[in-house]
Amino acid sequence: MIGGILTNRIIYKKELAPGIFLMDVEAPLVAEKARAGQFVILMTGEKGERIPITIADYDPKRGTVRMVFQVVGKTTAELSTMKVGDTLYSFVGPLGRPSKIDKYGTVAVVGGGTGVASIYPIARALNEAGNRVISIIGAKTRNLVIMEEEMRSVSAKVVVTTDDGSYGKRGFVTEALREVLKEEDVKKVWVVGPAIMMKVACDVTRPYNVETIVSLNAIMVDGTGMCGTCRVTVSGKTKFTCVDGPEFDGHSVDWDEFLNRLNRYRAQEQLAFELHKRRS
């Protein structure tokens, strides 16, 4: 909305790593209510799609909401070309339930790719609540590792992994998580990243019987419980990711169904992205 209380203006933008962008958007009402674990839905233009993006940070004083996204399709590509001063067509939130933050003792937070940006406010809140936060962050390769410093500032310990070993430990975050679980008495784990990574992380924590919270990146339209496209089966029951989640107990999620549902529009998404690339 222009001229209203929501301005949706981009006031800061930075490329954190090749293809990964950070953006601050002016949205005072969203910033006022936002909590760790929640998300927004945005549209770049009138003909655009409504896509959910996790809130990476928020500043109620400045009235801004921070998001970090990777260019993976047409909408994120378009978003990455928008400039400071541009206005998003639509920006609504904060949606979903906030993370449940309590004092647990030692906790582990695991972020893969842009999931690091989503896990950061959770880590910060856990740290502020007096937990000992062990953070595990990973990326494909060195220059895709993001927000390491921010994570260090809220963690007792940070483990960095890269798939190719170009920085930190070689391998996946899930392997590093296994190491941490062996060494430490971890009371609770949060994992945010690609669905398959979250699924594997849950397999890793299961034998240790540690509660593992995941943040599901389901396909969404309205984000308010109206369409049901974001349904997921948790403990045998249908839940709506946008209103009942996005965080769920990872050990109770039907991962195969979730992974299948993520692929529903793969062909159309690729077509739209291709057409976009050809035009620009």
Partner: protein
């Protein structure tokens, strides 16, 4: 005033049908199906009206539209006057003329329906509203003094829009908060273009904005702002957030990839214009053979939309028979004409999928009708051993919607019933909390546009009264 034609001729005339798009054509486009009356059609039909006193048709209209009065003005060719006559009690005639179930309301109550020839009141209403839109007929408002009172309306469907417009006309400052990026409620995201063109909804929205009503989109009440906060910031609040949460049958396989809720299917298509993908970014899938579960208006809209999107075969699967189907007869007939197939007395029990989650079939059981239940409809009973598999590759669930708890969760002391609908006073739409009113689907469950309009009107009156009482107390 023009002479009415002699009674005998009025009685002997047949109703004038409204011309429609050819079936062959219309299943390939999203344009409106009925094409509207010409001036001559409208006058011819209006002349049939007996101008009853008292008029029984009005008893059938939840908004008590002044039916014989507006019809009389059509006979006089005073179409602008006819329009203003309707506006006295119904703020959205172009919408109602298209989507109201007149055959069970005013037209059923019309004295001529006994002879099977009720006046086509809906067609006339639509003609008048379209004529007014084309000729920019504007309501003249006496300038009312600003009351200085501010009212918040939650939701921009017919209930919210009506209440907002009426309150604005009474001099109050009204702000509508809408969760989606576009206003209009079900009129925008649910009812398809071929039944209610979006330019009509836009026109109505423009009219309401011209009254000074501010519509703030992208604000989810309950998340972006709570009802309690609205109560603090405004002098009164009207909750009209609809009954938008989709229900499912809770049968195995319902979360397979190609199982949609009607809301998802229609929202993608209408709100997001997925039928114009890839010009618009939102995709939609379409099966070769689709099962649509349910037989209400929503199911008909889904089935006919699916055909237009290129589905090979569309089956409406319903556990009772055509007689019990809640959809308007007109919609069932149009769906049949367009090639939708109906599988009555059939209940889905399981959706079957492959390893990738694609739908490969739906197991159903055959039903028979037993004794009438509480609703007076005969209860469907499963016939044991009659299970069979329907070869479908997509399933769309149109069995209904229910209350979404997001709004009520943030409304302290506003009482809801077991299903989450707000409990209100029938006359005033007042909830259990002072200054908070509610109407439309969120007090009734999925109902109709005209009932939502009626609630909006009654609530506006009650809110106006409440505000004036507050005012005198404050000063």
């Amino acid at each position: 005033m023009a002479e009415m034609i002699p009674i005998k001729e009025r009685m002997s005339r047949s109703p004038r049908p409204m011309p429609e798009q050819e079936v062959k054509e219309r299943v390939r486009n999203f344009d409106e199906v009925p094409l509207g009356y010409s001036k001559e059609d409208a006058i011819y039909e209006a002349q049939r009206c007996l101008q009853c006193d008292p008029p029984s048709c009005v008893n059938g209209c939840p908004a008590e539209v002044r039916i014989p009065e507006f019809i009389r003005k059509i006979v006089d060719e005073d179409f602008a006057g006819a329009y203003l006559e309707i506006l006295k009690t119904n703020s959205l005639p172009a919408v109602c003329g298209r989507v109201c179930p007149q055959e069970t309301q005013c037209q059923m109550a019309c004295v001529l329906s006994k002879r099977g020839k009720p006046i086509a009141i809906g067609n006339l209403e639509r003609f008048v509203a379209d004529w007014a839109m084309k000729h920019n007929v504007e309501e003249k408002h006496e300038k009312v003094k600003k009351s200085g009172k501010r009212v918040a309306v939650v939701g921009s469907g017919p209930a919210g829009l009506t209440c907002a417009a009426d309150l604005a006309k009474m001099g109050h400052d009204v702000t509508i908060f809408e969760a989606l990026h576009k206003a209009g409620g079900v009129l925008t995201y649910g009812i398809p273009e071929f039944r209610l063109p979006k330019r009509i909804v836009k026109h109505e929205l423009e009219k309401i904005k011209k009254l000074g009503v501010e519509i703030k989109t992208d604000i989810v009440i309950g998340l972006t702002k709570g009802v309690d906060e609205l109560r603090d910031e405004f002098d009164a609040v009207f909750l009209a957030n609809g009954a938008g949460a989709p229900q499912f049958l809770n049968i195995p396989g319902e979360n397979l990839n190609d199982v949609y809720s009607a809301n998802e299917f229609l929202t993608r298509c209408n709100l997001m214009s997925a039928y114009r993908f890839p010009e618009f970014d939102t995709p939609i899938k379409i099966g070769k053979k689709i099962a649509v579960i349910g037989a209400g208006n929503v199911a008909m809209d889904v089935a006919r939309t699916a055909l237009r999107l290129g589905a090979g075969e569309v089956h409406v699967v319903y556990r009772r028979t055509r007689e019990e189907a809640p959809a308007r007869l007109e919609e069932i007939v149009r769906a049949e004409e367009e090639g939708v197939q109906f599988d009555f007395l059939t209940l889905p029990v399981r959706v079957l999928g492959d390893a990738k989650g694609n739908v490969v079939g739906m197991e159903c059981v055959k039903m028979k009708l037993g004794e009438p239940d509480e609703s007076g409809r005969r209860k469907p009973i499963a016939i044991e051993g009659s299970n069979f598999i329907m070869q479908v590759d997509m399933v769309i669930n149109a069995i209904g919607t229910t209350a979404n708890p997001i709004v009520s969760r943030s409304a302290t002391d506003v009482r809801t019933d077991k299903r989450g609908y707000f409990i209100v006073d029938d006359e005033t739409c007042a909830t259990s909390k002072k200054g908070i009113f509610a109407g439309g689907d969120i007090i009734r469950g999925s109902a109709t546009v005209i009932l939502a309009i009626g609630d909006g009107k009654r609530a506006a009156k009650a809110i106006d009264k409440y505000l004036s009482e507050q005012g005198s107390k404050d000063h």
